[in-house]
Symmetry: C2
Subunit: 486 residues, 2 copies
């Protein structure tokens, strides 16, 4: 009855962030029980605490999708090889990294199936079937699903062979509507990232070499992690008529002519959980923004004297009042652990606010509140406690955003010349804003020489009129944001 | 630009239920846009209207799971061949019907992966890792996921190669707790089926030949469809220590000894959507219980005279008031369709209540309400309308349950002798309750001769003391419920 498994033991201690950010990240993810390795290479298990965060993210996104007129549906996991192979760029982008089903039950399949890496190629034929007239447009469908991309090097949440995501797929009557939708959903992502995840993001356009395989234009939101590397946190694609032409998605227009639809697709993934860890976390572990924290408040009773008769009922009453107001609260009344152990444990798990209550607090009709973000500890009167807690949670949410924004600003430099650019890129992490000529060659050379890639060209990036490309000196077309990225 | 696809066109008319129930079912599912065929053999697309029903089902179930202490998590889609093969009965049950991934990216896999048909074999090794002590128990985890079982003959929702489901997997300290959990979740399913789906079910124990591959005991809920055939609507398994022994899921007990955990698993699937169609539907199409209806009320304004100035604002106000009270309501103010067309369309889609409002109604300060279940039409005063609508929806929910229960009772017979049994089974659909000796041989012979299977032995089945098995005449051990089944 020995426990045989290839999965490494959970770390006892968390590697200091300052010592090895990458190791710190994995230690936090595993020790906080967000996710774990699995017996399948490259695939992870999302543990209940991590999945609870994902459920809160899903709610925040799904509410926004529905408020913008979208509905959910579900398309098959499998895509016949011939369907995947129809769109040339898409094939080139995805064929090398898909999983192939070649046997079903006891028979070899005549045509292999791929496990979806994304669903444009299975949704296309359905839209071709469903859409007849301009009256059927727009189609605004989202899907919550698992997808598989065969990865050689994986990292929990950030890059795994299987991951969870949502993928929106829309069809429109005109090019303008498709472009509006592409930017609308980019805006939804930015709003969600900044308000729910307290994570400031750059919303902008990807360069052609970084765009989605088969898209006309790709937009992204990009965030800066605590180690100064950037992370792509969501993408929104204007597909033009590319997939429409390949899958014959046509409609009779208002003028009775047969036309191709204009498409978009957009997605965010469970990678966002990793982003939250890396944007807000500290040496003590995870710090969760209250909006997506499974527990926003943990109540730790101090077990002195006859606390079960005096303290516990009061703690239970506070829990009930907070829960009644919609605060996600947990009362940790376990006998088996000391308060000190509990403080550590819930700090590690990033609970935004800890409420301590002991016999002395009862005497003074107060509690002690400890903020996870600032580690400030202060007493608060029992009178009006629930409202006070709600205000504090809002403050923590705002503080986390402000702190992350300040960090990004402190780690953003501008460089008009290449020497300056290289010095900055070499010397410290973060974004560097530089004028760029728009050529893929310059972009590739910069990447080869500095490992920095253009994350995107923000929608509000100032014009680069009269400036020269940092690399080749030709007239610049835009200010691009460069960074080393995950 | 011709539309080439293997997917048949949507039916224009629905086949009468009385003429061909199976054809009627498929026509309703496709015309009501619940689901459609896909380009992948045996896989379906769940369309937005069908998926909205699934989302409401998920909410009803998930709320009950969480109220009984369960949390959600997510385990990998893929299972290494060697892990699947460890539990002998499980292999025998599932190996012939799994999809095999043999290639990842550009490489042949050393060890093939199966796409999960159910997740005991991938969850087992994780539980072995996570569980150390009795203090870690119970583990009460549920997963919402897609699963794949290679099926030769498929039918939308009822049997497809890929389907969506939830699967609970729990680990307990004692055999008693595992049995309690098994029955608790069976009870949750019954409560959900009867209260949310308005679908009466038999909750009982499966025979050994029908139990889950690897379980000690399987329980099910069974419902009777409109054609008199039974449908298994959910299962709950007591796994004993079978998987624990195979995957080494051990814990240190209160007495310090190393023990195997006791397991359960339980699941329901998107098949429930098919069940709702077949339990409640009629010649006009779908009839949805209000609790799971995406739209509980559809408002159809009657476009006479200057209705846009007079009727429409009133219709909008009613919509807003109902929506404000949490009623799911849609105002169908499309110009392109006549009221008659809309009546038909929303009846087909099973909307429980239609609210008609025209210029004459405005004059009389009333509306017309048409119930989908009874097709009764009556006017109702504008005054107190929202409360009246809510009461009517509750009445419809109850009426649907009562009607389905009455149908089941009318289609349930008892037969102590085999000749009588065969006559009833041959002559009319429904359940037949008969004494049975408990032998698999009798069960198999009855199935071969009559196509009827034992659906289950209900928990409240009266004892069969002194009775003889309908087949072999040996002493009966229980009253079993037989039916032809989906």
């Amino acid at each position: 009855m020995s426990k045989e498994t290839d999965i490494p033991e959970l770390p006892k201690e968390i590697t200091p962030q300052s010592q090895d950010f990458g190791r710190w990240y994995i230690d936090v993810v595993r020790r906080a029980e967000l996710a774990d390795y699995s017996p399948v290479k490259g695939c992870m298990v999302i543990r209940p605490y991590g999945y609870a965060i994902w459920e809160l993210m899903q709610q925040g996104l799904d509410r926004r999708f529905k408020a913008t007129g979208h509905v959910n549906a579900y398309f098959p996991l499998f895509i016949p090889q011939s369907l995947l192979m129809k769109e040339a760029e898409h094939v080139e982008g995805f064929a090398p990294q898909v999983a192939w089903v070649t046997r079903g039950g006891t028979e070899e399949l005549e045509e292999p199936l791929v496990v979806r890496p994304t669903s444009e190629t299975i949704i296309g034929p359905m839209y071709a079937k469903w859409i007849q007239s301009w009256r059927d447009l727009p189609i605004l469908i989202n899907q919550w699903a698992n997808v598989v991309r065969w990865e050689k090097v994986t990292r929990l949440f950030l890059r795994t062979t299987e991951f969870l995501w949502q993928e929106g797929h829309t069809a429109h009557e005109t090019a303008e509507e498709a472009q509006e939708e592409t930017l609308r959903m980019l805006g939804v992502y930015k709003d969600f990232a900044e308000n729910d995840l307290a994570m400031p993001v750059l919303d902008g356009r990807k360069t052609d070499s970084e765009k989605f395989a088969g898209a006309e234009r790709t937009y992204s939101i990009e965030a800066l992690m605590g180690d100064g590397r950037a992370l792509q946190a969501g993408t929104s694609h204007n597909l033009g008529q590319n997939f429409a032409k390949v899958y014959d998605i046509t409609f009779q227009g208002r003028d009775k002519s047969l036309q191709y639809i204009w498409g978009t697709s957009w997605g965010v993934t469970t990678r966002l959980i990793g982003a939250v860890v890396m944007v807000h976390g500290d040496e003590g572990g995870l710090i969760l923004p209250p909006t997506i924290a499974p527990y926003q408040v943990v109540i730790v009773p101090i077990p002195r004297g006859n606390w079960r008769e005096t303290v516990l009922p009061r703690a239970q009453a506070i829990r009930d009042e907070l829960a009644g107001r919609g605060v996600r609260v947990m009362l940790d009344d376990r006998d088996s652990q000391t308060p000190g152990w509990k403080f550590n444990e819930w700090e590690l798990r990033g609970v935004p606010l800890r409420l301590e209550i002991g016999p002395k607090d009862i005497e003074k009709s107060q509690v002690v509140l400890a903020r996870r973000d600032t580690r400030e500890k202060a007493s608060a009167p029992m009178e009006g406690l629930a409202a006070h807690v709600e205000r504090l949670l809002a403050t923590i949410q705002r503080t986390l955003f402000d702190r992350a924004l300040k960090f990004r600003e402190e780690h953003t430099a501008t460089a008009d010349g290449y020497d300056e650019f290289k010095t900055i890129m070499d010397g410290r992490p973060g974004f560097v804003i530089s004028p760029w000529c728009g050529s893929a060659a310059c972009e590739a050379e910069i990447k080869a020489e500095t490992q920095a890639t253009i994350r995107n060209i923000p929608l509000d990036s100032p014009p680069a009129d009269g400036k020269a490309c940092l690399k080749c000196g030709a007239p610049a077309t835009a200010h691009a944001w460069f960074a080393k990225a995950y």
